[in-house]
Amino acid sequence: MNASSDRLSRWTPVMFACALINLCLGLLLAVSGLAWPAASAGAPATLAMVHLLAIGWLTLMMFGALFQFAPVITGRRLRSQALALVTLIGVQAGLALMVGGFGALGRAAWADRLLPAGGTVVTAALLVGSATLLVPLIARRPVPLSARFVMVGLGFLLLTVVLGVTLALALTIPATVPLLAPLLAGGLSSHMLAGLGGWFTLTAIGVSYELLPMFMLAPHERGVVGIAILWSGGAGFLAAYAAGLASAVAAAGWIAAVGQAGELAILFAVALYLGDVVRLYRGRRRRQIELHNRAAIGAFVALGLAVLLAAGAAAAGRLAELAPSLLVLLLLGWLSGLGLTQLYKIVAFLAWLSRYGGRLGRGPVPRVQDLVNERGAAVLFVLYFAAVALAAGAAAFGLADAVRAALALALVAVLLLAREYARAWRATYAQRAAAAGPRSLVPSPLVRQGDR
């Protein structure tokens, strides 16, 4: 091992692989008819599916990316690679218990204990992971904007999982209900808001502020807009979260007002962010952008649509009815869409570093771009986002079979994308090109070309 290798997060590729498996399992639950849309939104199998996606796929993928990029954002190294492995094992094991626990809901008393136990294991593992990340994140002064988003996001993750365990206790151990009663009524909406909004969305914004400028050669500096998004989004999610919980204890008008102010602040933050993303794409210096950033536009569109739909549905008093559509747009369109598109680049980049980094300066090496086949993968991203759009549309009209068919299509797209990630990881395309002839490796005439 040379000094360079500790720039690489060792367990990140394994986390990505586990995350993709969890995504496929979650989609499979929906497609098979065990979970929503065939079953109700609150059905045990639906809850298992939602958490496979939320914890198993999105949270694990986010941690995998953060373990790699927290040192990049801050220029500091991670204290320990082993703690990343502890996080991975804890999350995966706790999630398995949780899924078993949802499956066992109401069956046998001992089986019911699985859910809170699993949630506790997940919570402990995520605390370990968060602490590992926070060390480099707070070490650098001034704390970079993207790191601040991630820190606020990790705070919301804690709020999410602690409330999740509380809900699980109330669901599985009736004796705890009188104690927890105040948390239950508003608990679910607060849990969802903190998870999908405070944790995923704020962290994704932070990571996107790092990755988009880096690969598009756009200015990193987000100025006052970035700060406004952080404050407005952070305060908005916190207000809506607290008001959701407080409304269960007291039905005071001011609590509802705080909640509404929070929701407006969230809308404002998302609108500002989307505007800023447009500015970022327009301000890029690299005219021809790579596939992962072209495809990410699908995720941004999904976020915009979700916000419009949420605002419209709330105004029309039809939020509950359109909630499934919203969840599809947010979970699969925005968060999973951003994740799948950025993974396409991150995997190729990590593969390059671990395979060819040590050969730089010793002879020709391929470029990161040579590890992928953008033309083939572009079709898969189109397929994925089209399938998600169909699923969201069908969900709005309550067409369960159409939703399942659309999600089956999304699953196919994910499986084929996973094959592309694996090919990038194994450098299949680069090796094929090398076998076809040494000229395809740099220094090629194009790259070697000087200006004298």
């Binding site: 220029g75 005219r287 980094g357 730089l360 090496v365 470029r367 990161v368 790259v447 000087g450």
Partner: protein, 109 residues
């Protein structure tokens, strides 16, 4: 190392460094404008360079790549690479051929 026929020039060093690429942009570091300054004293070479992004995950690899490539140049007895962040790199610093490759306008905007 054998003594060079003619003294080593910054041009020779630049030429050699065109073999080292920034893996992300897929272009050599010289034409990307990442190499700011080359100092040569006897066989000792001082390279002052930057990365496209602070904390670039490929940084250590690129620096090692520079050291290795230059160690192979006839007449070189030592290589010192310093990575600096000021001035910050900008696409404006690319050579015309690199700008053309990335479809960046001449003024870098």
């Amino acid at each position: 190392m054998t003594a060079p026929a003619s003294p080593l020039t910054a041009g020779d060093v630049r030429e050699a460094l065109r073999d080292v690429i920034d893996p992300e942009l897929g272009y050599n570091i010289v034409d990307l404008g990442l190499v700011y300054d080359i100092g040569i004293e006897d066989g000792l070479i001082d390279v002052r360079m930057t990365m496209t992004t602070p904390g670039c995950p490929a940084q250590d690899y690129i620096v090692t790549g520079v050291e290795r490539r230059l160690a192979d140049v006839a007449g070189v007895t030592g290589v010192f690479v310093t990575v600096v962040w000021s001035p910050a790199w900008s696409p404006r610093m690319m050579s015309p051929s690199a700008k053309a490759h990335f479809r960046i306008r001449e003024d870098g905007e």
